[in-house]
Structure formats: structure tokens, C-alpha cells
């Protein structure tokens, strides 16, 4: 029998294996499905029945931006592998943000997180840019 999100949160808010604490920071959590990595009911990827996350994933040499949502079927709650669904997002800003909007406002899924998801999309995208460090050999003539 699936427990409500509030009940799950009450069990989890004290401690989970995903909590990471550090000085002068809010309590962070590294569970899958947590958009901001913050340990709170709003962002919890385990407790909530509706989940939204934008994250990066490395597949081979390619880096992908994945959108994670909760499976719509209630029966899937008992199948750990298929609770969260990950879909790729387009890496072009315009398309990607459109897809984020569609996944949230279009399907009424966590509209409260839409703005944050868009911001995170931008951040994930900029994280893919690699700064080329040019090392000047000391042996080269100046």
C-alpha cells in the first residue's frame, strides 16, 4: 500500500543515507530526482509522488541533459527500477527550455519547480563547456 508523500517525508526528514551536511550550508541530499540537491520536502526525489529533476548524464563520451520525472502509474511505486523515468533534453537552449516547459506546465507536473528547472538547464549546459587550458612550455622560446 503506497504511503503518502507526507508520511514518507516524516520518516525520511530525520536521516537518510543521501544526506550530506557541511558547515554554513543547508542540508543537502544526493538522492536521484532532487532538483536542487537540497534536503527538503519540496525537492525530495524519494518522498514525492511527483518529481522533477534536470541533471547531466555521461553516456560514453557524450554528455546528456536528462529530465527525470516520476512514473504516472501508482503501481510502479513498488518497482524500484521504474519509479523514476529519465528522458533526454535537447541541448539547444530554445528547444531544451521548451521541452522543460512542456514537461512541467504542459503536463501539470511540478509547475512550482519550472523556473528552477529552467535555470538548472542553463547551468548544466554551461557546465558542458570545457575551458581549454593552454600550458606554455618553459622550454619554448619567449
Amino acid at each position: 500500500m503506497p504511503a503518502s508523500a507526507e508520511l514518507l517525508w516524516e520518516c525520511m526528514k530525520g536521516n537518510t543515507s543521501f544526506i550530506r551536511k557541511s558547515a554554513n550550508m543547508p542540508i543537502m541530499s544526493r538522492e536521484p530526482g532532487n532538483l536542487c540537491g537540497k534536503h527538503s520536502f519540496k525537492f525530495s526525489g524519494l518522498a514525492n509522488s511527483k518529481v522533477l529533476d534536470v541533471s547531466s548524464k555521461k553516456v560514453g563520451s557524450k554528455e546528456k541533459i536528462m529530465l527525470t520525472t516520476h512514473h504516472k502509474k501508482g503501481s510502479r511505486v513498488h518497482r524500484p527500477g521504474s519509479i523514476l523515468l529519465a528522458a533526454g533534453l535537447s541541448k539547444s537552449t530554445k528547444k531544451g527550455l521548451q521541452q522543460v516547459t512542456k514537461a512541467t506546465e504542459g503536463s501539470f507536473n511540478r509547475r512550482d519547480l519550472m523556473e528552477l528547472a529552467k535555470i538548472k538547464f542553463q547551468k548544466v549546459k554551461t557546465s558542458f563547456k570545457k575551458k581549454k587550458l593552454v600550458f606554455k612550455s618553459r622550454r619554448a622560446t619567449k
Binding site: A3, S4, E6, L8, C11, F18, L46, P80
Partner: protein, 387 residues
């Protein structure tokens, strides 16, 4: 309440479902983390061994206080002579070689009683929590590859006799990741326990619950982190280690089916626990979001009050802000008008005066220029200047 059906997996492969079983009612018991925590803290004390200092420690001297008048502190002192011990302070907790303050006693209340019903309540809650992947994952078990929760394997698991077969079964069923986690977490204990026969710590892996073993307990017991339990004596210390809900449990079909008779259902009492009935939840529907958003509640709510009715505007300084000053002092308009008029009138007269002055200066400048030229002309006509 209709209970869902749980698949029983064949131990040969996680894809093949051997049969299905109705979910035992225990798994629908209310999940009470507070009860579990309370019962666990008490239960965890029941395996303690007494420790205490010797009753005679620090008291084995006939020390007596020298009283006052001897220019020494009044602490009891060791009598006699001929040894450095004589005259030294004794007995007090502050004295060297004295007995400690509040000497530990063996008759400390080591073990805690917990009412039977509370214990059973906690176990029911812990079992219910073990059926929720969210809680099991939160507790730290690696369950991403497990096909279904609760995980029930067919009774052929009882006959697994070799550890390598047991390992193979767990791998097929997706439970081996948790064993790996446990194995990799084996470390030497931090602290003095390492030299007190508690050298290693490691995480707990899956709990395998069975009703009849035909060799499987010996097969599974050597796998790191794996624990075994008969379904008849499930302990809260195994179901909620550390007082935290969500142990990863692997059931055999026989054990799973036995739960209904051990714990009972909401229709009938437990057969093997006299007088025990499954605990009932205070709220049958604990989904607050759904309750709040339901038609029944929303239809009787008052309309939402939007925004504040009184808006206090930002204060603007009338001495600096012309519009505000004008609103407070309407005569300001006349004053301003008069002054601008005067200024422009002044301006006009000023301009006139300046223009006249300029004219005079211009004329004078012209006259002087003329005089200069004339002088120069005359002077140059006179010839060279010689001294």
C-alpha cells in the same frame, strides 16, 4: 480493503514469475517511525553486559582525616609511616588512588521492559516500511535492480545449499548490489572498540526471511552483510537497524504466506500472537495533499483573500520631492510661480544690464584700439628710437 498481489519470483531468473501471493495485511499497517524509534532504543539495551568498577576500588586503606589544626587539607589521609604512601590523601574522587565519583554499579537498570503490544506494533510498522522502496532506498540499500517490492522468491530458495548458488540467486534477482555495498564497506572500527573484539564495521545487507531451511541458512550466512531470520521470530533490531525504517528484506514464499497467520489481518486476529490485532491508523487516508485538494474540502472553503487591504506607500520627503510638497502645501505653487517669474524678470533686466555694459566696453575697446593704432603710427613716423 483490497490488498494488491505480489509476484513470487523464480530463483532461476528475475524475469520469470512463478506465482503470485496476496499482500499480507502487516504490510498495510501504519508506519510509525516514532514507535519504532522508541521501541528500538529500549530493545537495543537488552543485550548489554554489566560493567562496573570493583566495589573495593580506592577504599582499601584505613585512611582517616587529620582534622583541623595541622595546616593540611581535611581529606582522609593514609596512616602510618615509612612509605611515601603515608600521609597521602585517600578515598576522595579527587585524590590519587581514590575511588571514583559515583562508582558504577552492576545493579544499574541494564535491560528495559517493553510491553508486548508495543513491540509487536513496532515490528508491524517496520515490516510495512520494508515494502516501500523509497524508505529502503533512503536507508541506504542498493535496490535499483530489484524487480518488485516486497521481494518474494519461490520456495526452491530453501534448498539452495552452496554459497556460490546463493550468490548467483541474489545476482539474478538484483539483490547482490546490496551485498557488494556491505562487502566494500568493511573497515576497521574507529575508536577503542577495535581492540575490544569489535574490530570491524560494515553496512548491513539484505535480510533473508524464511520459514523452513533445507540448507539455505548455511548457504547465505557467509555472504557479507546478509542476515537470516525465521519468519516466526522477526526482531525489530533486524527489521529497523539503528531505529531506522526500511531494511531490505528478501522473503521466501512460505515465509511470506505465513505472515497473515502470524500477524493476523484486519478481519481476524493473529493466530500465533494471542490477543494481538494489527494496529490501525489514525487516518485511513494520510495523503494530505489529496485531502486538501479534494472537492469535499475545496467546496466549503472561503474565497482566498488576495493581497493586503491596506497598502502603506513608501515615504517620500516633501522637502525634496516637489510633487509631495505641493500636495501638502498648495500655496507652494504660487510661491514657485512668483519666484520663477522674478527670476525670469531678473534675468531679462540682468541680460539688459549686461548687454548695455558690453556695449560700453565694446565701444571703449574700439576707442582704445583706435588710440593705440594712432600712437603707433605717430611713433613709427618719428623714426627709430635711439637712446
Amino acid at each position: 480493503m483490497s490488498r494488491p498481489v505480489v509476484s513470487v519470483f523464480d530463483i532461476e531468473s528475475a524475469d520469470s514469475v512463478a506465482s503470485t501471493v496476496t499482500l499480507p495485511a502487516v504490510f498495510t499497517a501504519p508506519i510509525r517511525a516514532d514507535v519504532v524509534h522508541y521501541v528500538h532504543t529500549l530493545m537495543a539495551k537488552n543485550k548489554r553486559q554489566a560493567y562496573a568498577v570493583s566495589t573495593r576500588a580506592g577504599m582499601q586503606t584505613p585512611a582517616e582525616s587529620w582534622g583541623t589544626g595541622r595546616a593540611v587539607a581535611r581529606i582522609p589521609r593514609v596512616p602510618g609511616g615509612g612509605t611515601s604512601r603515608s600521609g597521602q590523601g585517600a578515598f576522595g574522587n579527587m585524590c590519587r588512588g581514590g575511588r571514583m565519583f559515583g562508582a558504577t554499579k552492576i545493579w544499574r537498570h541494564w535491560h528495559k521492559k517493553i510491553s508486548v503490544n508495543q513491540r509487536r506494533y513496532a515490528v508491524s510498522s517496520a515490516l510495512a516500511a520494508s515494502a516501500l522502496p523509497a524508505l529502503v532506498q533512503a536507508r541506504g540499500h542498493r535496490i535499483d535492480n530489484v524487480p518488485e517490492f516486497p521481494l518474494v522468491l519461490s520456495d526452491s530458495l530453501n534448498r539452495v545449499a552452496h554459497t556460490k548458488d546463493a550468490r548467483a540467486v541474489l545476482e539474478r534477482v538484483g539483490a547482490y548490489d546490496d551485498v557488494v555495498k556491505s562487502r566494500d564497506s568493511r573497515k576497521i572500527r574507529v575508536g577503542a572498540g577495535k581492540s575490544r573484539n569489535r574490530r570491524h564495521t560494515q553496512r548491513r545487507g539484505p535480510l533473508v526471511v524464511y520459514d523452513v531451511s533445507e540448507g539455505m541458512d548455511k548457504a547465505f550466512r557467509n555472504l557479507p552483510g546478509v542476515e537470516l531470520s525465521l519468519v516466526d521470530n522477526l526482531s525489530l533490531l533486524d527489521l529497523a537497524p539503528g531505529g531506522h525504517l526500511g531494511r531490505f528484506i528478501i522473503w521466501t514464499k512460505g515465509a511470506f504466506e505465513k505472515l497473515d497467520s502470524i500477524f493476523g489481518t484486519y478481519e481476524e486476529s493473529a493466530k500465533f500472537k494471542t490477543g494481538f490485532n494489527l494496529p490501525r491508523a489514525f487516518m485511513t487516508n494520510a495523503d494530505l495533499t489529496r485531502i486538501i485538494n479534494s472537492d469535499e474540502v475545496q467546496s466549503v472553503l472561503k474565497p482566498q483573500v488576495t493581497g493586503p487591504t491596506l497598502v502603506i506607500p513608501k515615504k517620500r520627503n516633501p522637502l525634496k520631492n516637489a510633487a509631495v510638497r505641493l500636495a501638502l502645501n498648495p500655496y507652494q505653487a504660487a510661491v514657485v510661480a512668483r519666484e520663477t517669474k522674478k527670476a525670469s524678470a531678473d534675468k531679462a533686466t540682468k541680460a539688459k544690464v549686461i548687454a548695455e555694459k558690453r556695449q560700453v566696453l565694446k565701444a571703449r575697446g574700439k576707442e582704445f584700439a583706435g588710440r593705440r593704432k594712432a600712437f603707433y603710427k605717430a611713433a613709427s613716423a618719428e623714426g627709430e628710437i635711439a637712446f
